[in-house]
Amino acid sequence: MEWQMLTLVGEDQPGIVARVTAALFDGGCTLGETSMLRLGGNFTIMMMVSNGRQSMHELIEPVAEQLHLQYHLDPIHAALHQHRVPNFQVRVVGADRAGIVAQVTGALAAEGFNILELDSDVVGSREQPVYIMTIQGYAEATLEALEAVLASAKDPDIEVNVSPIETLIG
């Protein structure tokens, strides 16, 4: 099956997913894996879409225009059933300052850590913003090795901890 990655971004409002997916369905497209998040008040979505009867540009353009969304389409090499199960979780909480993500992920990359999911948020108050990030990923490295390399990313205002994920199969 041939897939394209469809990305849509714009001001959030109720009904966007319904309108976009209805247009794709009407055009004979099939959805694969998708991820939607609201970031800074913006609607963002990435969807694996397989080609339908009509060109995807023709299907999406009118909907995107009506909903004031920017969109982007890329052909991708992709397949379903490629899930990897994470074996480590990293949590970062601290005073918001530039460079936290680069520092922590740089340390993890040095140990061959493959990030599978990452989300981060700035919470707290305007006066005292707090940065929270959770990362789930896969690494062959030991817990001790990850702890050691993350110790370098720690500073007095930032808490970084790593814990193993034991996925329960039942």
């Binding site: 999911e117 959770t134 034991e166 996925t167 199969i169 039942g170």
Partner: protein
């Protein structure tokens, strides 16, 4: 001994409420041996429930003694007619299932539980469980009530503290 076929989503039998076991005989013991062989045959499962192989009876096996990092556990347990009587605390953890291939996701479970059950001969048992073993037992008991972990999935961003009460699975038991 035999390896039994595991029912996979969306098999409607996985959504049914199982009946209590009433006969503790050789036939039951033979089935338990097959169920255990089936659990050990697949990808490292710490538990299995009878309805996962199409036998709609209240029986589960769990074994949390072989995790990568050791956790508190009671070894391998064959639990007939298990009933959770007490729930305490909440914990988010990642689960997968023999009946839901190629998917894992986050589920909230009670951190500590108390339960009653019977052994394969019908003798009464009582346990207190915590953490990973409590999670395994809750996952398996859900199968007896026609619930799968995908019915309890929560988003990564779900706030644990918003949950006040742990929701029991399944439809009410028919008495």
């Amino acid at each position: 001994m035999a390896i039994l076929e595991i029912l996979k989503l969306p098999d409607p039998r996985l959504k049914e409420v199982s009946e209590p076991v009433e006969r503790f005989d050789d036939e039951l013991h033979g089935f338990i041996a097959d169920l255990e062989e089936t659990r050990l045959h697949g990808p490292a499962a710490v538990g299995i429930a009878a309805p996962q192989v199409g036998r709609l009876q209240r029986l589960v096996i769990i074994d949390c003694s072989t995790t990568r990092k050791p956790v508190p556990n009671h070894g391998r347990l064959v639990l007939v007619n298990p009933e959770i009587t007490d729930w305490e605390g909440f914990e988010l953890g990642r689960e997968g299932c023999l009946s839901v291939p190629d998917y894992t996701g986050n589920v909230i479970r009670a951190e500590r539980i108390k339960l009653t059950a019977q052994d394969p001969r019908g003798e009464a048992l009582q346990f207190e469980m915590e953490g990973y073993e409590a999670r395994a037992l809750q996952h398996e008991v859900d199968h007896l009530d026609g619930m799968l972990f995908v019915d309890r999935l929560v988003s990564r961003r779900t706030d644990l503290f918003q949950r006040k009460v742990y929701q029991k699975g399944g439809k009410p038991r028919r008495n």
